[in-house]
Amino acid sequence: MDFDDEGSNFELKEIQTLSGHTDRVWSLAWNPATGTDDAQPVIASCSGDKTVRIWERSALTRSWDCKAVLEETHTRTVRSCTWSPSGKLLATASFDATTAIWENVGGDFQCVSTLEGHENEVKSVSWNASESLLATCSRDKTVWIWEVMPGNEFECASVLQGHTQDVKMIKWHPTMDILFSCSYDNTIKVWAEDDTGDWHCIQTIGESSNGHSSTVWAISFNAGGDKMVTCSDDLTLKVWEADIEGMRSGNNQVLWKHLSTLSGYHDRTIFSVHWSREGIIASGAADDAIRFFVESKDSVVDGPSYRLLLKKEKAHDMDVNVVQWSPGQENRVMASASDDGTIKIWELATSSN
């Protein structure tokens, strides 16, 4: 997809605003098994109001409604939520130091398991591609890996130490069992399993490797899994790449290298970044704006560089905490959530001249 076509003007159209949460919305996740001919799109959102809401778009009216409120389980802010790859389970991470696993049983969401162990606030949770592993991270500086057992049982497989501060987010690689974490300690760490089944940190990306100079808030991979983008309190986005063939052949020595730094575009903390399957990088920041970046073919420097495609100011009334592209059939549909308590559904549309 070539975004350098000079005749295209992009605009971010607001499709709908989803209200209901009574406190800031920290995160949201599209159910990956929905957004097809048979299944209407579904989103889970989580909030400082201690609840998780499930939203579904009606096939008839094309309007989004709140289908369920998952309450009375977490006793503090729910900080992040993520669906399993099959869409059957939802994991929610909370400041109450637990991670809850929910299953949709005949339209009713039930909490089928509670993962305990972290010493304080759990910040993020991620499923691996094959759904055999779950990872969580916390302000207690650790990353936990859990094995998914039959009957919705979860067993702690490893407690990973290494970060020297609050771990903000963890994310499994889209195809391989390699885990990535980012932290208040300004670094990104890469974790992999060795032949004996032990998990180790195989790389730490810090300031000396062209890394961030303040808290790293989020990580996102491109469709091919050979690049990742990270966002930070240092007001930059950084793009990294690795030799994917080397990784596939099981070489744990493959390192992620700095490819590009996007600076000068944001003037407040960037909380979220998400790479679409077409290659559009969306960012959500503390200046209430959403920005879109694409690879620029005009660069005269070695390797790709990135340019700003569109900036949507005042996307929300307050900080944008999360941006997530829809995995469904419809192209360029995105959702965002904010401190203003709302979720917005958007379409990135073009009007060619």
Binding site: T77, F95, R139, D166, Y184, A286, D287, D288, M318, D319
Partner: protein, 154 residues
Amino acid sequence: MTLGLINANPIVHAKKERVARCEDSHCCDAVDPLDIYDFVRDIRDPEHPYSLEQLSVLSEESISVDDKLGRILITFTPTIQHCSMATVIGLCLRVKLQECFPPHYKVDIKVSPGSHADEEAVNKQLNDKERIAAALENPNLRQLVDECLYSNEL
């Protein structure tokens, strides 16, 4: 909570004379730094029965506002270099401002340059929104903050 006071002998200053201000001035579009100062000057210090103003932790010069960008910057001066109450003071300032000012103003809080031994680390914590939210959910911390904000009204 620590048993001994961090700073047992703070220097206490007289309260600066107050000028009567327009009652509904915070309904106007422009935010006057002195209005903000009026809201925060009486916050009680976490350790001593004096206001932040009396201890010179805050002064009129502490507040600066950029109306165009919609930003408020507050710099405060802890009474001593190793003050462990700096983060509590920061929390008090944020909670107080949340009540008084339009939410679309962005607030940054810092210790005044050179006033704290761990200046960079303290400033980072004072402005990490997620850490602030988690701290305010801690009942002990919340109680301490409430005492600093509301004890004057008892």
